[in-house]
Amino acid sequence: MIVSRSKYKRVLQYILLLMLAAMLLFPIVLITANSFMDENEVISTYGMSGSDGTALDKDYAKIVFIPGKASLMQYYYALLREPTFLVMFWNSVILTAPIMLGQILVSSFGGYAFAKYRFPLRDQIFFLFIIVMLMPYQVTLVPNYILFNKMNMIGSYLAIILPGVFTTFGVFLLRQFIQGIPDEYSQAARVDGAGHLSIFFRVIMPQCKSGIASLAILSFVDNWNMVEQPLIFLRDSYKYPMSIFLSFINTSNPGIAFACGILYMLPAVLIFLYGEEYLIKGIQLSGIK
C-alpha cells in the first residue's frame, strides 16, 4: 500500500521533472535539430526572408523537430563558405580568453589578500567591490567609457578586456573560497620559514584549484555571451563577437542561423560538461557563509 503510494508519487515526480526538463530544453533541442536542415528548408519552414525581417510569403513558421532530410549544409556554409562567421567566433575567443586568464591571476592574488590578511580599509574596500559587483553593466560602462574616451581607446578590444580583467566578482569568489581553506597549512608552512609568496603558490594555489576552475567557468560563461560592452565600445562591426553577430544573422543570413547558434554554444556546453561540479561549486561559493 505504502509502497504503491510511494511508487505512484515517484512516477508523478518523474513526470513533473520530465515536463519541466522538456520545457527548459525545448529551445536547445529545437536548435540542435534544425541545425541539420538545409538552407531552403529553413527558409521555407520559418518564412524568414533574407532581405529584411518581414517574411516574403506570409505563411506562418512551423515548429519542426525532424528536418525533411538531414544535411550538413548549414555547417558547411558556416564553417567553410562564410569566413566571417569563424572570424566572429575568434573575436569572441580573443575577448573572452584574456579576460578569463587575467581575472584568474588578479583575483587569486586579491582573494588571498582579502581572505587571509588584515590591512587598513580592507573591509570597506571589499564592501565597495561587492556593491560594484551588483551593478548592471550599463552603470559600470559609463565610467569605463569616459575613461577610455579620454585615452582614445574606444574601438579597441583593450577597452573591453581591461575592465573585464578587473571585475570584482573574481576577487569576491576566490576570497570566499580561500577563506574556507584552514589556516593550519599556511601556519605550518610559515613555521618551516616559507615566505608569503611561496605560501601563496605552494600552499594556497594547489588547494583552490577547484575554486579557480569555477571562477574560470563562471567568467567564461559571463563573457562568452557579452553583448553590452561590444555594442558600446566597438565601432567596427567586423570586430564584433559572435553574440552580436548572431543577433544580426537571422535577418542577414537566416539559412545558417541554427548551425551558428550551435557552434556558438558548443564551447560553453563543452566546458559545462567538463566542469559541471566546479560550476555548481562556484555558484554555491557565492552564497555560502
Binding site: 518581414t54 506570409k58 573591509d123 570597506q124 571589499f126 564592501f127 561587492i130 559587483m133 574616451n149 574606444i154 569576491f172 570566499q176 577563506q179 565601432r235 557565492s286 552564497g287 555560502i288 557563509k289
Partner: protein, 453 residues
C-alpha cells in the same frame, strides 16, 4: 553576499555604512550647490582650422582655401578629405559627440543618426552672437524660413546652405488631355484625391507621379506638424496624420509609378512621359533639374512646363522645404571667429551659385533663375547619352517657382532615425502587414521614447 556582511566585524560595517552615506551626502551637497558658474574652458589648439569634407567638395574648397590663406596668413586650413561617406559620418558623429572633431562642420541631413540629439548634447555653438556682432551680415539676403530651421531652443546652431522643396513638373496641356485640372490655390490632399479618382478609374497603365515618394516626403510635404523636437513631443494620433497616411496608401501610391516599373526606365524619366506612363516628372528640386525637365517636356510635347509642389494637408497650409547641406561650428573649437568667416564665405554668392539644390542666398537664386530663363536656351546638351535641345524656363514656370518659394511656411530638418521609422511603418501599412492603429501606436511609442531619451 549577505553572508560576507555577516562575516565582517560589525564595527567596520557600521563605520562603513555611515561613512558611505555621509560621503555621498557631502558629495551631493558640494557638487549640487556649487551654483552655476560658467567657466568655458577650451582646449588649447594650434593655428590649424580642422575640417572634414567629402572628396568631391575639393574643387570649390580650393577657392575657399585660397581666400582663407590671404585672409588669415598665420592660420592654416587642415582639411581631411573622405572618399567614403559612411566613414565621414562615423568620424563626425563620434568625434563631435565626444568633444573632439573639426572646428568647422559641413554636413548634410544624413550625416547624423539624429541631428537633434546631437544638438541637445550641445555639439555646436550658438551662431546668433556672431551674427549680431557682425554688421556686414544681413539676414535679409537669405531665405528667412529656411535659415531659421537651424534654430533650436532659440539658439541658431546651424545654417543651411541649400534646400529643396518636393516639386513635380508637367504641362497644362498634358493635364488637360488627361482630364485633370490643378488649381494651385486649392492644391491640397483632398483636391489631389478628387482629381486623381477619375483619372485612375479609367484604368489604363497610366500614372500621375513618375515615382513613389517615400512616406516621409509626402508627410512633410503635407505640412502637418507631427514632431516637436523642442518639447520632444509627437502627434501621430491625429485625424490629419491618419488622413495623410490613408491618402498616401489609397491615392498617392496608386497614382505613382511603382518602383520596379520605374527601375526599368532607370534614370531616363522622360521616357515615361514619352510613352505616357506618367504625366509628371517629379523630384525636380533644383533649378537645373527643372530646366532640364522643362526642356524635355518641350522637346516631347512642345508645351511649356508648369511646376507644382506636393499637395498640402489643407489649402491654407504653406509648403515645406528641407535643407540639405548645412554648416555649423564645433562648440569646442577655439577658432570660432574664423570658422564663422568660413560660414559667411560659404553663404557668399559665388559659392552659393555652385549649390546643387536651391541656394539660400536669394541673390544666387535669382541669378541662377535668370541664367536659366535667359542664356540657357537652345543649347544642345547631352543627358545620359541622349542629346537634348534645351528650352529656357518660361515666365509662367518661373512664376510657379516663385509662388512656391513665397508660400514656404516651414523648413524641416530631417532626423534620420525618425524618418526611417516613418517610412518603415508606412511601408508595413501599405504592405497590409500593419493596421492603421498599429502604425500609429508604433510611431507614437517609438518616437516618443526616442525623443525623450
Amino acid at each position: 553576499m549577505l553572508w560576507i556582511y555577516g562575516g565582517l566585524e560589525s564595527r567596520y560595517m557600521k563605520g562603513n555604512k555611515y561613512l558611505a552615506l555621509a560621503l555621498s551626502c557631502i558629495l551631493l551637497f558640494f557638487t549640487g550647490c556649487t551654483g552655476k558658474n560658467d567657466n568655458n574652458k577650451q582646449i588649447e589648439g594650434n593655428n590649424a582650422i580642422k575640417l572634414y569634407l567629402m572628396e568631391y567638395t575639393k574643387p570649390f574648397m580650393t577657392k575657399a582655401t585660397k581666400q582663407f590663406n590671404d585672409q588669415y596668413p598665420d592660420h592654416t586650413l587642415d582639411i581631411e578629405y573622405f572618399d567614403n561617406k559612411d566613414e565621414c559620418r562615423k568620424r563626425l558623429n563620434t568625434e563631435l559627440l565626444s568633444g573632439k572633431g573639426p572646428d568647422f562642420v559641413l554636413f548634410d541631413t544624413y550625416t547624423f543618426n539624429s541631428i537633434y540629439k546631437a544638438l541637445k548634447s550641445g555639439v555646436f555653438c550658438d551662431l546668433n552672437p556672431f551674427i549680431e556682432a557682425d554688421e556686414s551680415f544681413d539676414m535679409g539676403n537669405y531665405n528667412k524660413t529656411v535659415m531659421d530651421c537651424g534654430i533650436f531652443d532659440g539658439k541658431r546652431y546651424m545654417i543651411p546652405l541649400e534646400y529643396y522643396i518636393d516639386t513635380f513638373i508637367t504641362t497644362e496641356e498634358l493635364l488637360e488631355e488627361n482630364g485633370i485640372n490643378i488649381n494651385v490655390q486649392e492644391w491640397d490632399i483632398e483636391h489631389l484625391t478628387n482629381t486623381l479618382k477619375d483619372f485612375m478609374d479609367n484604368g489604363q497603365a497610366r500614372f500621375f507621379f513618375d515615382r513613389q515618394y517615400p512616406f516621409s516626403d509626402y508627410a512633410v510635404g503635407s505640412g502637418i506638424e507631427f514632431i516637436d523636437h523642442e518639447n520632444s513631443k509627437c502627434y501621430f494620433n491625429t485625424p490629419q496624420f491618419r488622413e495623410v497616411l490613408n491618402t498616401y496608401k489609397d491615392v498617392f501610391l496608386k497614382a505613382s509609378v511603382a518602383n520596379d516599373l520605374r527601375m526599368k526606365y532607370g534614370i531616363k524619366y522622360w521616357e515615361m512621359l514619352k510613352d505616357n506612363t506618367a504625366i509628371t516628372a517629379g523630384a525636380v528640386n533644383s533649378l537645373q533639374s527643372i530646366w532640364v525637365a522643362n526642356s524635355f517636356l518641350f522637346d516631347i510635347f512642345k508645351c511649356k512646363g508648369r511646376a507644382y509642389p506636393l499637395p498640402t494637408y489643407d489649402k491654407t497650409a504653406g509648403y515645406s522645404a528641407l535643407p540639405f547641406d548645412m554648416v555649423a561650428i564645433n562648440s569646442n573649437s577655439n577658432h570660432k571667429e574664423i570658422a564663422y568667416d568660413m560660414i559667411k564665405f560659404m553663404l557668399s554668392k559665388e559659392l552659393q551659385l555652385e549649390s546643387s539644390f536651391y541656394p539660400v542666398n536669394e541673390e544666387a537664386y535669382d541669378e541662377q533663375l535668370k541664367e536659366y530663363m535667359g542664356a540657357a536656351g537652345n543649347q544642345i546638351v547631352n543627358i545620359k547619352g541622349t542629346p537634348l535641345t534645351t528650352t529656357v524656363i518660361s515666365e509662367e514656370l518661373a512664376g510657379d517657382l516663385t509662388n512656391i518659394k513665397n508660400k514656404l511656411s516651414r523648413c524641416i530638418v530631417r532626423d534620420e532615425y525618425i524618418f526611417d521609422l516613418l517610412n518603415d511603418a508606412a511601408f508595413k501599412y501599405v504592405d497590409g502587414e500593419y493596421s492603421e492603429d498599429q502604425v500609429i501606436n508604433e510611431l507614437e511609442s517609438k518616437v516618443m521614447l526616442y525623443l525623450n531619451e
